[in-house]
Symmetry: C2
Subunit: 528 residues, 2 copies
Amino acid sequence: LRTGGVRFATLGLAAWLCCFSLEPAQGGKVLVLPVDGSHWLSMKILVKELIRRGHEILVLVPDTSLLIKESENYRTEIYKVPYTKDELDGIFKELKDGVFLEPSTIFDISVDVQRLVTFTTMQVRGCESLLNNQPLMTKLRDKGFEVVLSDPFLPCGPILAQQFSIPAVYFLHALPCEMDTKANQCPTPPSYVPAGFSGNTDTMNFPQRVKNLLMSFLQSYMCTIMYHKFDELVIGHIEDIKSYKELLSHGAFWLLRSDFTFDWPKPVMPNTAFIGGINCAKKAPLPADLEMFVNDSGDDGFIVFTLGSMVPSMPEDRAKEFFDAFRQIPQKVLWRYTGTPPADLPKNVKLMKWLPQNDLLAHPKAKLFITHGGTHGIYEGICNGVPMLMFPLFGDQGDNVHRMMARGVAKRLSVYDVTSETLLAAIKEMIQDKSYKEKILKLSQINQDRPVEPVELAAFWTEFVMRHKGAAHLRVAAHELNWIQYHSLDVFGFLIFIVLTVLWVSLKCCIFCTRKCLRRETAKKKNE
Amino acid sequence: LRTGGVRFATLGLAAWLCCFSLEPAQGGKVLVLPVDGSHWLSMKILVKELIRRGHEILVLVPDTSLLIKESENYRTEIYKVPYTKDELDGIFKELKDGVFLEPSTIFDISVDVQRLVTFTTMQVRGCESLLNNQPLMTKLRDKGFEVVLSDPFLPCGPILAQQFSIPAVYFLHALPCEMDTKANQCPTPPSYVPAGFSGNTDTMNFPQRVKNLLMSFLQSYMCTIMYHKFDELVIGHIEDIKSYKELLSHGAFWLLRSDFTFDWPKPVMPNTAFIGGINCAKKAPLPADLEMFVNDSGDDGFIVFTLGSMVPSMPEDRAKEFFDAFRQIPQKVLWRYTGTPPADLPKNVKLMKWLPQNDLLAHPKAKLFITHGGTHGIYEGICNGVPMLMFPLFGDQGDNVHRMMARGVAKRLSVYDVTSETLLAAIKEMIQDKSYKEKILKLSQINQDRPVEPVELAAFWTEFVMRHKGAAHLRVAAHELNWIQYHSLDVFGFLIFIVLTVLWVSLKCCIFCTRKCLRRETAKKKNE
């Protein structure tokens, strides 16, 4: 299977016939529509694996792309979008600056939603220009792709798949406002599945369950705002499909960058596979200078610090707090930082424009990971068993951090109001209190103990969808039901109606009989 | 992983520490409590694999056992039960005779339930005598088992696991009245998950959904009857646990002999793995005489016929119909039949006391499988891509057959009223109409196309439970909620109360204000 063929032990002629008709696994044609940034970095791992297995890959890239580059391994097709790189950078800058300018409040959700809508509206315009690019669309259609691999965070992939009548494989962590579970009809009882932004774990008391239910209502409302532009795009380009949610429901398979060392246990659907940690399987040795720097740290070890690709620097006054704290610790610090270094840069701190995060965390001397709580970083922390000091910035990062804290493997601070004192105290506590290390090691063991490696599992299911032209046998019939039917409300209504009718008729009969008896008795008495 | 060790690519010192503390995978101690009959035949495959991986196995066997024999490979411990083999055989005989004596009706369910209760009541007595066998229990407790592998169709395994505080791995197809999904908190919306005995598929119209909901209520009622004795046993032997369902909910992992080529797609829980087809992976060459017999069949091929281990013979008049039909077909027939052969046994029919069913079905000349619709046989039909002519007898077999018919790979007849004509017509149709073969081949391809072989997956998860002393990270928090909390009814009630209170207060305020205004106006008018 791993080389793409179908293994049938000794099934004889019948099975030989099957294999014969199942050819396309090796040398299949895959159309890839990634989402830029860290999303692409982990999808690229699957893309590389598919190439290794002999498939032909075409990656569609907007001409404003940040991280998706042309490559020798796969072909790219660059399409024009109606916004410039500067406009895109502007949005990211606003996002980045925001986290240092405002304190974290309950209204963060609406700010997050607004930022997301601004970003996705721009991306929708990009997608529209691709869909209206008739020469390119005709060229793509004629290529005979067997599967579309896409990140449904943006709508272009699912739309193309539907337009070309090709099965879609989705590659994602999760979608905003839980659209993924909604579209895939996955039950998420609000009594024990914590809603986004609720701050709940899977064990809730009554007030927490009230909050959770309210937050899940809020999520549904947020969906209507967030996916409004997506819905318009879908309606404009695909007949018979009325919303993005409905379009997503046609996805053949969902590759979820998650698992139950990160997420709380909850029901799952048959057409999903968990590939959390796909981004931290491969480790390379450190470059010589880095290896020397970290080895120099002796028993105290070192700290890896990054706030992700979106926030590579910070205002000077904020940075000062970090430098001041780092100056007072015996650990070395590797910090991904593009800001201007201070004149009195502490000797134990090394600033880098980019750092091999996973390779560093895999080093036995790595003591602590200071991170913003993106899912990629978190999984690198889990895989490598390194406790995390977390500075959530926006989006799902607050929830991610909360998950890790609830497991006792992380602490949370805020970039807005952190001081060198609070930072120092947190670093000291996390390094001295051995329970953080013990718990993350246990989590790491569980995460690494799996029957199939995530990248193999992801490639298997992508090939499965190619071989069988989808995965229809895993699609639940719930997709054909409306909300009332799904919850059997019509059936309950009907049964209640029947019961009430029977009761009413029985009552009427009783009254009728009683009256008749009474009348007869009265007549009898009169006669007497 | 496959040899039981934990694989950590290059995780450095931290990971080495993990491995160090994770030792017990190889050479673990497994206590096995099987259920007799075909249930044991597939569990034995996992037991053998665990032995191959170096684990020490002890199988607990009642002294009335039918199929569970002592073996060189694993140790057995035989315990006394307070009923004789004749009593047990008597129950099976009644079961067997019943299917030929009565036509199939809607009341079959209650007959099935009654038979099941009679059987399980006897087994509960057996289990009780094991639990009260203090010397044996002490001996077992002292052995230091790391996991209990059991079939929860009978209650002894789960009870022992709880008493010894050892995690339990359940190995089963499904439990009567859907107890497995109920105990494991798996959502099964009755709007698209067909209830047992409902005759529904996953796509239902309104009347079918009404029937489905009613049948799922009936299933819940059946549960209370069927598991009454189990509940008593549990309450009598385990403190703080009030029912068999609650006991089952503590199971660490569920190995389900099912998958979505057999079952309809539906939500699944994280602590389950699908190992449907575990019984048909290994094929051996046929014995020389059988190989000659089936090869002799030429292009017409041969038919495999068995009604399972419980019904190895049938009344003469019934058997005659089969012999008469077989006489008229060009195919050879291999029939597992222990009854007296008729004087005029057709030349194309070979009667056997036991036959290598899976090896026969794997033969390229196998054209048709006549079966009662047990899950083992069905999976052998699916794996090997052989269409099935089915005679459901009792229990879940009606539902199993229905699943296969809905997929277009099977036809159904009844042993009670089959005639040589109807049988002949069915055989001819199924061999001549190529759609049966095409559809079962497609189903077979899907079934065989999996990332991990069922036996490896089953062994992996059993070892996982040993390594991590359970699988707590896969246990949903729903287990801690009661029915009202799970469905958030208390939260809804509270929110409705709040809304109504607010409305009521607002209304009162309005009324109060309106009255005040009116009074003022009246007073004003009066003054005027």
